[in-house]
C-alpha cells in the first residue's frame, strides 16, 4: 500500500523567507503526485500536479515542486513566502498506474509571520 510522509508538522517563517516542504512516498511504480492547499476556513484546492515529463512543475501563486524519482520525493518550494500563504499543505500520491485513489500525507501547517 502507498504511504506518504510529510516531514514537518508545523513550519513558521517570516515573510520573504524561502519555503521547502518535504514529501516522500513509498510506492516505486508509476504514480501521479499532487500538492493541495487548505487556507483557513476554505476547502482543499489543487496547488500543482505532476503526471509525467519535466520533473519541475509550476503551480499557482508562485509555488513549484520537483519530482525526484530516485528519492521517491516531491518537495514543494516557494522562493519568497507571503502572509497570505498561511495554510495547511497536503502532499498526495496515487496508488499506482491507472488508480484514481489518492493517499495523503498528514499535512504541514505553514504560519507566515508578517
Amino acid at each position: 500500500a502507498q504511504s506518504v510522509s510529510q516531514h514537518n508538522h508545523h513550519v513558521i517563517l517570516s515573510e520573504a523567507a524561502s519555503l521547502e516542504l518535504g514529501c516522500n512516498y513509498s510506492y516505486g511504480g508509476t504514480v501521479n503526485l499532487f500538492w493541495y492547499v487548505q487556507y483557513p476556513g476554505q476547502h482543499l484546492q489543487l496547488l500543482l500536479k505532476y503526471f509525467s515529463g519535466d520533473p519541475l512543475v509550476k503551480g499557482i501563486k508562485g509555488f513549484e515542486a520537483e519530482f525526484i524519482k530516485s528519492k521517491f520525493s516531491f518537495n514543494l518550494r516557494k522562493p519568497s513566502v507571503q502572509w497570505s500563504d498561511t495554510a495547511e499543505y497536503f502532499c498526495a500520491v496515487t496508488n499506482g498506474a491507472g488508480s484514481y485513489q489518492l493517499t495523503f500525507g498528514k499535512g504541514t501547517k505553514l504560519s507566515v509571520i508578517p
Partner: protein, 113 residues
C-alpha cells in the same frame, strides 16, 4: 466551474443516531470519494465509488456505509454514530479519464455527543 456541494457545513448528532452526509457534484464525474480529516492525521479515505451502485472500501470503512443511486450524488452513512466519528468529512470527485485531479467540497464538520 467545477462544483462539489455537501448538504451541511456543521452537524451535531447524538451517540447511536443514524447520520446521513450527502455530496452532490454537477460535473457528470464518474468517481466520487469520502474522506475524513483529523488534525495531525491528514485525509483518510473511507469509501469511494467509480460508478452508480458501485462502491469500494477505502482505508477506514469501519462504522460507515455509502450509497450511490445516481451519478451526481454520493451519500455517506454512519449507521450508529459514535464519539470517535467526530471529524471533518470531505467529499471529492474526479472528472474524465486521465485527469486524476480531485475536486473537493467544503466539508461537513460532524460532532457526535
Amino acid at each position: 466551474d467545477v462544483k462539489v456541494t455537501q448538504s451541511s457545513r456543521y452537524l451535531v448528532k447524538r451517540t447511536g443516531e443514524k447520520v446521513f452526509l450527502e455530496c452532490v457534484q454537477d460535473m457528470d464525474h464518474e468517481n466520487m470519494f469520502w474522506y475524513r480529516q483529523d488534525p495531525g492525521l491528514g485525509l483518510r479515505l473511507i469509501y469511494f465509488s467509480y460508478d452508480v451502485k458501485m462502491k469500494e472500501k477505502g482505508d477506514i470503512p469501519e462504522g460507515y456505509s455509502v450509497s450511490r443511486e445516481k451519478k451526481e450524488r454520493f451519500s455517506l452513512i454512519l449507521e450508529s454514530a459514535s464519539t470517535n466519528q467526530t471529524s471533518m468529512y470531505l467529499c471529492a470527485s474526479i472528472g474524465g479519464r486521465l485527469t486524476y485531479e480531485q475536486y473537493f467540497g467544503p466539508g461537513t464538520r460532524l460532532t457526535v455527543t
